[in-house]
Symmetry: D2
Subunit: 342 residues, 4 copies
Amino acid sequence: MAVRVAVAGASGYAGGEALRLLLGHPGVEIGAVTGNASAGQPLGVLQPHLVPLADRILEATTAEVLGGHDVVFLALPHGQSAAVAEQLGDDVLVVDMGADFRLRNPADWERFYGSPHAGTWPYGLPELPGGRAALEGSKRIAVPGCYPTAVSLALAPAYAADLVEPEAVIVAASGTSGAGKSAKPHLLGSEVMGSMSPYGVGGGHRHTPEMIQNLSAAAGRPVNVSFTPTLAPMSRGILATCTAKARPGITAGDLRAAYEKAYADEPFVHLLPEGRWPATAAVHGSNATQLQVAYDEFAGRVIVISAIDNLTKGTAGGAVQSMNIALGLPEATGLSTIGVAP
Amino acid sequence: MAVRVAVAGASGYAGGEALRLLLGHPGVEIGAVTGNASAGQPLGVLQPHLVPLADRILEATTAEVLGGHDVVFLALPHGQSAAVAEQLGDDVLVVDMGADFRLRNPADWERFYGSPHAGTWPYGLPELPGGRAALEGSKRIAVPGCYPTAVSLALAPAYAADLVEPEAVIVAASGTSGAGKSAKPHLLGSEVMGSMSPYGVGGGHRHTPEMIQNLSAAAGRPVNVSFTPTLAPMSRGILATCTAKARPGITAGDLRAAYEKAYADEPFVHLLPEGRWPATAAVHGSNATQLQVAYDEFAGRVIVISAIDNLTKGTAGGAVQSMNIALGLPEATGLSTIGVAP
Amino acid sequence: MAVRVAVAGASGYAGGEALRLLLGHPGVEIGAVTGNASAGQPLGVLQPHLVPLADRILEATTAEVLGGHDVVFLALPHGQSAAVAEQLGDDVLVVDMGADFRLRNPADWERFYGSPHAGTWPYGLPELPGGRAALEGSKRIAVPGCYPTAVSLALAPAYAADLVEPEAVIVAASGTSGAGKSAKPHLLGSEVMGSMSPYGVGGGHRHTPEMIQNLSAAAGRPVNVSFTPTLAPMSRGILATCTAKARPGITAGDLRAAYEKAYADEPFVHLLPEGRWPATAAVHGSNATQLQVAYDEFAGRVIVISAIDNLTKGTAGGAVQSMNIALGLPEATGLSTIGVAP
Amino acid sequence: MAVRVAVAGASGYAGGEALRLLLGHPGVEIGAVTGNASAGQPLGVLQPHLVPLADRILEATTAEVLGGHDVVFLALPHGQSAAVAEQLGDDVLVVDMGADFRLRNPADWERFYGSPHAGTWPYGLPELPGGRAALEGSKRIAVPGCYPTAVSLALAPAYAADLVEPEAVIVAASGTSGAGKSAKPHLLGSEVMGSMSPYGVGGGHRHTPEMIQNLSAAAGRPVNVSFTPTLAPMSRGILATCTAKARPGITAGDLRAAYEKAYADEPFVHLLPEGRWPATAAVHGSNATQLQVAYDEFAGRVIVISAIDNLTKGTAGGAVQSMNIALGLPEATGLSTIGVAP
């Protein structure tokens, strides 16, 4: 029998991607779709690519509308999930694609988001050590940020195997959909086409504490992160270049072995054969992570590069994968490793 | 029981798209994948987005390799399909994504392709009048060109309903994948990004006689076509702006009624509600055609605009749709109307 | 002695392009730069590419600020130029890059803009018959729209030489900067990258009456226009595909001769050698128009394709060119035919 | 009296950019333009944006053709400059935009280029300590690589002021023109649009030893570099994110002061005001470098981000700037700090 799923925040990019995937999920029936300013409009105006839902009218995002579903996906602005979630019963699986419940340390939340911490939910990155167990049977899921997904999958094995020093330097490029659908001048097509630019430089990006949390857990001790995000002229995709100084005596073979072992059985993480490198185009629209590792012996650094689709594996695909685990469904149901390329 | 399908020309864009769709087709088992210069290489090098087939080795494109499959998709350069097809038995369904068997008039073929005409096969555009019947049970399918698909779906209802004069003026923009994967300087990213340019102007494009053939059949008398294709800075998608002078006395209501009637039951052609216009992004990776019609009373012209994904509905999706009909499977099996956007 | 030029509306794309060109104009000294909501901000925040003006503070757009300059460029929203212009003395050269004073027929203005007609100024397209004479010594200039520039240069010679029928069918693709810098959701990078879409279909685009005005003047009798604009995934550039039915008996030679004669001495219009086609990349940032003509004998139509930079020749470059003529300076001063490519 | 300049390799991107800039240089007359496979073709076919040179015919790249000019720009494949240069007299200023004469250490050359080292010429990055003096009056100039230009300008002041540890971690994104105009499948528009991908990971990029050379010279002791280049979906531009661990006790103020001092008088290096970040669009087509510095106190790292146009400041603009110095002309002649944006 199909699980009934509501999507709150269906007018934005994360909500739209959740609907795209849920439409292809054989065990799901799509229930309410809600918006805020867009309530009352047909979805076809806001998400013209979702043809089967074109005539659906967005409802208001209220507990009345969302209640009575088996699962509720929240694609709301940061800070708004807690108020909605607490009105939904404990029998409802709530999947929050926002940031509200990702961080364990209230001080981190307060420093980066400037509001009281709402709490911590099981974290929706099954590939991390212990990740699946935390999600099984859970009724609350905090979906990771897109950058932390790409970066944690890239570096966790190296930290878990103690191959690198606890200071990571990360530079990542993201497609513009990561910045959302709010109309801001610097996100206009005229501004972003043909241009690369950084933002949140110097430790200011809100995803940094989440990376630190994940990598420190993998390492079993504090890891520090220097993270610089950049905006790339493409709609989707994250390419994360993740480096750390190698532990003395490490070899390229050690490195490769650790990654082969970590991801041998993972359906959505693909260590590429040697000599091939990830490209975001290859994971466009798919839930796959493609990655490659290198050991630069001259610089003494390990470099791991991962590519994901920020909206799929980085947001809505990770959310569906975690939902599947929480509900006891086969983990890959409704998800694909096949990208849309070229 | 699954149908075994081979894909010849699996290294290119059409072949890759066929494999992408066939991987998601529940009634298909993928058999041989073949190439020419790329034979011997793993598919993962050539089509890194097709993760489940990454370790498949391309074989040579020979009758021995292709024989023994239930269906063979040909994604070969124009003029090469006939030699392969004639070696395949009449019990094999051959789906030719090249141009060889599209045209009925040998003189047209010879003028535009400069070689002897190989013949004419049932034409894989089920939405045209009589289109489905021609495909049912067929063992040979000529998949339409990408531009003729977009243009014929846009204008056939107007001609079938005798609403427009028999001189169509068409300007279409295509993504660069329509030009194939051969490395040519004018197709380099540095050249195409930020640039629009025309080609094949003045009646020279090989898809022109195919449009004339389809529209004349819909009209029941000769239709002439002025067609100008342009290359747009995007990987996929065709936006076709198709216009013709309105018959005297036509109203906007007549026009809309004709299209509503023509496509009311078509799973892959969507006439948009009034006030909304197609965009190629909305059909990215999907088998949908989105279209809208307008009657410009000042200029006395009908304007129909269609958007398709040139590789999906325009090539490999249309091929799978036609294969389904030929095999007696539900027509939409393995195909989607949901685009990957943004 | 340098001419002092003020630019009103310096925060937008047209104003920014005017400043870019004026900075390179040896006879110009840049005076006030003004904005509306952006008044008080340094130009470096709004136009980071204009390094020499980075520390200039935008002033309010008032007659006090603009008065006392030799020339005032207006880059204001449509309908706002008249109120500013009437406060500037007859001794000031006012160059309006908005639409207010382009149309001769008040009824056209009212139908397309919905407000009272402010008047008609000398039209800044020197290459049209009589174009230069109208500008010499003038103190008021209405700069043409970007699409009418591309289209009028493409078709005026054919109409002036009576080679085509008076019904033109035009489809043009524009870069997103033509839609301005106001943040609107459909202009977000995420939406426009990878997508082509039409707008203003069916005669609704405000540039249509301007094209009709220009082409009718060239023909010496009424010309009708069917115009469909499309938005292309690039920041700059217009590619206009302009077609009309050929007059009986016309040859390709007649056509080429007419264009060679029309543009033999024009510094900014380049008829390409036969066999080569315009591309917007080739005119990126330049004041050049590149065009090519073809006669499709099968369809009986003339096809003229032009490429311009919508912000340069299509707006600010045309404005500077017209200013030069009005001031008696050499027409090409401060302008270039060299594009920035690739 | 004008200096006569020849450009060898005029069919490629570096050669085309050199011609674009030299056309705007008031002290230069363009002499021979040469190619290899393209000899005999008009430049208009190969570089359609260079309208004033459209009818120039490319000659063969021989000493006879190049001799007799005051200056010869070489835009040849790596390894081919030496053979040409040695046939040109000592009275000719030879400006090599290839790699042949950049490196001081023959072992570095041999390891990265696999051929005998041709020698070392004065290095064309005037902004480095001692950079201008080395170029004055010189008859041979080795133009830096595009990445080393962006990276060295970003980090040299921090090393010169001893503010950072001698291990730099650099990730840079480049537009596709940096990969040249040879038609290779992975550089097709269909492949690069919508995609970010790395290459030369793990110390393998040929520009790494050049960065090490420059930064070590600035530091006065060995600096090690981990460099990862990535290919971005844009034609032009480099965004370099350059980080190094801060020396103990360093403050953000120390950092900013060092950069303000280093670049206060540099015409082509612009330290942005605090709070603003470089974007490649702002330097499109200009010879400017825009940069910003940050001190991440949590990670203990200095982050410097620079944006250049890889073809202008990164290649041909740097070449013209160095030529000006060598010839005793004002350094900025023919160069601009104004980008073409949006």
